[in-house]
């Protein structure tokens, strides 16, 4: 991706937000590009919703500035910002029909711009078609299912053609099947309309499958920004490694660091090669992170095995089996094994096994 040439849709410039003594956001900076599906991912209370509400104009910043296509919007009230929001609980107007809900923004715009009735009608119909709710135009929101209300909320927010669409955990109230199909649909709609989406979620799977780029947030700060692949494979700190997916964490010391390729020694004395950020100094204490699917099980005396442990139990997960092993220093190791015909393990709890991992899959993190 050639993001350096892309236009910046939203520029967050050293944003801080305090509620009295509590700091919700601390010095958050970052850029969201035009026509991008950008996700703010983090546990609850990390400040992601606050950041979204600042962009929407429902909250003011304590310090910093928000630029929308190069212009500061920090002082603009919510109703003057060309951004629209899909709310977590949808917030549909209960006394209006579906069509009235969808056309609300257009009607409000019509007061300031030349938008005639026929345009509003046509655009409303077009939006209802986009979310496949043409036949529900005359219903009230209370007569719709959760998934349908979700679509109305989406159509209502898209109708006024916002420059940026903000989505505040829009799928969290839906059941799993519906959530999965809405993910695909949301992504398609984003690509069809070409509108920049800023999506807030605490669900990492949602973030990984839909986003062009993800900002992982924690404690009011952005921990790492990048595409799904780079965040998963190259977490920049322990929080990101831990929050995204599952990871094995082994305490150790970095023995040598040669431009990112290093070796580290674990508590039990095992020395193995790993990758590390080039700015981590040798002799630094830290944690070695290995994804469960990057570990392979072999026999204890296999010379390729760099780690060893005793199998404790198996978790059958459908396509995979999760093997839980324990090292001699009683650290837990998770290993994912695909349930293919060739992978009939023939192992039992209590068996001692060797584990293989390549240097590129073992990441040493200092915090």
């Amino acid at each position: 991706m050639n993001q350096n040439n892309q236009q910046i849709a939203i520029d967050l410039n050293r944003i801080s937000k305090n509620y009295g003594e509590v700091t919700a956001l601390h010095n958050v900076s970052g850029s969201i590009y035009d026509n991008e599906f950008f996700t703010l991912l983090g546990p609850s209370g990390c400040g992601k919703t606050t950041l979204l509400r600042i962009i929407a104009g429902f909250e003011t910043v304590t310090a910093g500035d928000v630029l929308l296509y190069g212009e500061s919007i920090a002082e603009l009230p919510a109703n003057k910002r060309p951004v629209n929001t899909v709310f977590q609980q949808y917030s549909l107007f209960p006394h209006m029909t579906v069509a009235e809900n969808v056309s609300f923004g257009l009607q409000m715009q019509a007061r300031n711009r030349t938008r005639d009735r026929s345009f509003i009608k046509q655009r409303t119909a077009q939006m209802l078609e986009l979310v496949q709710l043409e036949s529900f135009a005359k219903r009230k929101p209370a007569q719709l299912s959760g998934g349908q209300q979700q679509r109305v909320a989406l159509a209502r927010a898209l109708a006024p053609e916002p420059r940026v669409l903000l989505l505040d955990e829009p799928l969290s109230a839906l059941d799993l099947k519906l959530r999965q199909s809405m993910r695909v649909e949301l992504k398609q709609i984003q690509q069809q309309t070409g509108i920049t989406f800023v999506f807030v979620t605490h669900d990492q799977e949602e973030a990984l499958t839909m986003s062009d780029r993800i900002a992982v947030m924690s404690e009011g700060q952005v921990q790492q920004t990048g595409d799904a692949h780079s965040i998963y494979t190259n977490p920049s700190n322990l929080f990101v490694a831990d929050f995204i997916g599952e990871t094995n964490k082994l305490d150790g010391v970095l023995l040598e660091n040669n431009m990112g390729n290093g070796t580290c020694r674990l508590k039990d004395g095992t020395v193995l090669s790993c990758t590390a950020r080039s700015d981590i100094a040798t002799d630094a204490n830290g944690t070695l992170c290995i994804r469960p699917e990057r570990l392979a099980i072999t026999s204890v005396d296999d010379p390729a095995a760099v780690l060893s442990g005793a199998i404790e139990r198996f978790h059958f997960l459908g396509t995979d089996t999760q093997v839980v092993a324990r090292t001699s220093t009683s650290e837990e190791l998770l290993v994912r094994v695909q349930n293919t015909a060739a992978n009939q393990l023939g192992l039992q709890a209590g068996d001692r096994v060797g584990l293989v991992v390549d240097a590129a899959s073992a990441t040493f993190l200092d915090q």
């Binding site: 929407a56 429902f58 109703n79 003057k80 107007f93």
Partner: protein, 312 residues
């Protein structure tokens, strides 16, 4: 539709506990039936019967059927009752004035009460109850005493005028006693909480993320209020209006003490019929029945509009 679930569950428990409970249940309902019958149905029936009896000159009634009271209310047949019937405007005027006064009082209570209720409902949880308490504090004092105090406050040489003159805002006292404005002040003061409390209850339940959604969709504050907040809190506003309008219509303390003879309202008219020996019980009863019919009409229109809103 929503009522179906609870009905089913009570139905089930009734079947389980058996029919032995039913006689007991009927007996437990007796106090409720007694209160409704004795304090509600009986007095109204009594009024209805009295309104069709003949008056006794020293107050009280003669048990003889007569429509004279209703006739007296609507028709003027001259001093001796032998002239061709013309429409009697005296009482209709009093009623009309009462309705207008009550409507004005309702509108004023709404204009002041809605922002008050909105203000209270948007305070933090910790201070809300304090504000509500402050609104209701004066109502722990008897209505008569409050109305007399109001008279004392606003009379020509009362504290209000003295203070205004002292500050230099006016040169001569504002004459308020025995004017419509004084009556309005009295009604407003008497019934404001009846507006504030139901409106507060509905604003408090309002989901303010809807207001955010409206702002997000380019609506100004005023449009948000008009198109999103007001429709949502309408039931509370209507309830408040009824609770202010109905007692204002029949009020007699404020019009009597603050309005004087010129601003006579229904409440005073009825009160006079039952007071002392100059009264006319059947006529007072007839006035009450006419007032009651009007109130019921208003409530019916409200119920009809609610049912229509519910059906949508």
């Amino acid at each position: 539709m929503a009522g179906l679930t609870p009905t089913t569950s009570t139905g089930t428990s009734a079947t389980l506990s058996g029919s032995a409970f039913d006689p007991l249940r009927k007996r437990l309902l007796f106090p409720a039936w007694f209160v409704i019958g004795f304090f509600l149905v009986l007095p109204v029936l009594l009024m209805l019967v009295y309104s069709f009896l003949t008056k006794e000159f020293r107050g009280g009634v003669v048990w003889e059927f007569s429509t004279a009271s209703y006739d007296q209310f609507f028709f003027d047949r001259g001093l001796f009752g032998d002239e061709p019937a013309k429409i009697e405007w005296t009482y209709i005027t009093i009623f009309w004035r009462s309705i207008v006064q009550a409507l004005i009082a309702t509108v004023i209570c709404l204009l002041i009460g809605f922002p008050t209720a909105y203000f209270i409902a948007t305070r933090p949880d910790s201070t809300r109850n304090l504000w509500l308490f402050l609104v209701t504090v004066p109502y722990w004092v008897n209505l008569l005493i409050r109305t007399v105090s109001m008279k004392f406050l606003i009379r020509d040489n009362g504290p209000m005028n003295e203070w205004l003159m002292m500050v230099g805002l006016i040169d001569s006292p504002i004459h308020l006693i025995n004017t419509n404005i004084a009556v309005q002040l009295g009604l407003f003061y008497s019934y404001l909480p009846f507006m504030v409390l139901p409106v507060y209850a509905s604003v408090e339940r309002f989901n303010f993320s809807l207001a955010e959604a409206a702002a997000d969709l380019y609506a100004s504050r005023w449009t948000t209020l008009r198109r999103v907040i007001l429709p949502a809190v309408k039931p509370g506003i209507i309830a408040g209006c009824i609770l202010v309008f109905v007692p204002s219509l029949g009020a007699f303390l404020a019009p009597d003490l603050l309005g004087g003879a010129k601003n006579f309202m229904i409440g005073s008219l009825i009160e006079e019929q039952f007071k002392g020996s100059a009264g006319n019980w059947p006529f007072g009863a007839a006035c009450s029945m006419i007032l009651l019919s009007m109130v019921l009409l208003v409530l019916m229109v409200y119920a009809r509009s609610q049912a229509r809103a519910g059906a949508q």
